[in-house]
Amino acid sequence: MIDARGLRFAYPNGVVGLDGVDLRVQEGERVAVLGPNGAGKTTLMLHLNALLKGTGELTVAGTSDAKALRALVGLVFQDPDDQLFMPTVREDVAFGPLNQRVPDVEARVEKALRAVRMRDFADRAPHQLSLGQKRRVAIATVLAMDPKVLVLDEPSANLDPRTRRELIETLETIDRTLLVVSHDLPLAARLCERSVLLSAGRVVADGPTLELLADEPLLAAHDLELPEGFDLTRLLRTASPRSRPAASASGP
């Protein structure tokens, strides 16, 4: 589905965002992209929509055309106030499908809002919503475009525990290729069977999430750690083996 080879990108001020990223993601996989601040996670995400263009190769479902990429890959940005810019929730969710000129916009808006349990808020203005609600609507704005791949940037940032849990539950019901960019390791453990560890613009580890999170020295070397008292072995015991395509790892 996603195929990146030797992806490199440097910002105009000389900061290196990506330093040769190789990543392959199969259809239906759920992959967490983990890494400390400044590792290049968001830069990678922007590449998936051709909002930034570096050197190297990047295709999604065989294409690298900007317009096609934006239809295939739905980005949910970290700050929902950036993502929700229309006067009402309904118009915001309709924005993508209207740009795609699909015929069944209304039905798509309904379906997307129902999927994130925000149907009753369709006629509210975004500024009247709580952060958790805004984030759910932000996901709906992308779901309405029916992308093949959903990419979320720090979906759990600044949420209280209950809102965070509800968001995870919502995400669990979404059946698509999922890329979660985060440094919330328990979230990755809960949602994704595979994780990719990004550090200083490179993929430094790629494998089953639970194995990767159990490797404390590796996490520590890249400024990541599990929350104090977090018991990974409990997750190991309760983890239900999902029948998804096996990860095809490709390290640096």
């Binding site: 922007l46 929509n49 909002l51 317009k67 934006r70 239809a71 739905g74 980005l75 940005f77 700050d79 106030d81 950036d82 993502q83 929700l84 810019f85 229309m86 006067p87 009402t88 309904r90 118009e91 309709a94 924005f95 993508g96 209207l98 740009n99 795609q100 916009v105 209304e106 808006v109 203005a125 975004p126 500024h127 704005t141 992308v142 475009m145």
Partner: protein, 226 residues
């Protein structure tokens, strides 16, 4: 900032459910007619028309006064300097303000935007107004957080020189807003934005809307005769 929260639609009535274009055109016409004439019968007729609209929309005097005073007090203060011309200037100002208040109390801001767009107001202007409405609240929240941060560290300006902190806040706010604009633009591109603002559904102009505008037509006659 409570004045900002004190906005939006109040109640529901036949007037509320009119096509926003009809309300925008109708109430704007009342204002233009009042402003273009100095004759008191015209002003009286306009006032009666606004009272009737308010009554039909069931907007009480309290709402109107509370909202109108924000604009009206400073305007009337300025009009005082006109001395002999005070009565007509004050009448024009009051009629214009009350028209705007009635529009605001019966029509949501997004609806006003749709109306402007459908009335072929330049798209760029409508877009600017839409973004201003959307981000006004976000920016006000940011200002309040910054002010709280200043106060928390003991900032209480006593003389003019200490005001420079405010300048820094303004700069920071400008930069933050600029960065946000860039991020919003990225988010728009990600969802296929191509310089055109798409529209979900267009309300139809119905008989009630035509009736509303026809009911206001006698004002025009008064203006011509007076």
């Amino acid at each position: 900032m409570s004045s900002l929260r004190e906005s939006g639609v109040v109640g529901d009535s036949a007037i509320h459910r009119l096509d926003p274009r009809a309300k925008l055109v109708g109430l704007l016409a009342v204002t233009v007619i009042a402003v273009s004439s100095a004759a008191w019968p015209v002003h009286a007729a306009c006032a009666v028309a606004l009272l009737l609209v308010a009554a039909a929309a069931r907007i009480g005097p309290r709402v109107i006064v509370r909202r109108a005073r924000l604009i009206l007090l400073p305007v009337l203060l300025v009009a005082l300097f006109a001395r002999t011309a005070f009565p007509p200037v004050a009448a024009k100002a009051t009629i214009g303000t009350v028209s705007a208040v009635l529009l605001g109390a019966t029509t949501s801001f997004p609806d006003v935007l749709h109306a402007l767009e459908r009335l072929k107001v330049p798209r760029l202007l409508v877009l600017i107004a839409a973004f201003m409405y959307r981000y006004l609240f976000t920016i006000v929240d940011e200002v309040q957080r910054m002010r709280a941060a200043l106060t928390a560290r003991g900032y209480a300006p006593r003389h003019a020189l200490q005001v420079q902190a405010i300048g820094r806040v303004a700069t920071a706010l400008f930069l933050r807003t600029y960065e946000r604009a860039e991020r919003v633009h990225l988010a728009m591109l990600a969802r296929g934005f191509d310089e055109r603002m798409p529209r979900l559904h267009a309300p139809a102009f119905r008989r009630a809307d035509a009736l509303f505008l026809t009911a206001l037509a006698p004002l025009l006659a008064v203006r011509v005769v007076a």
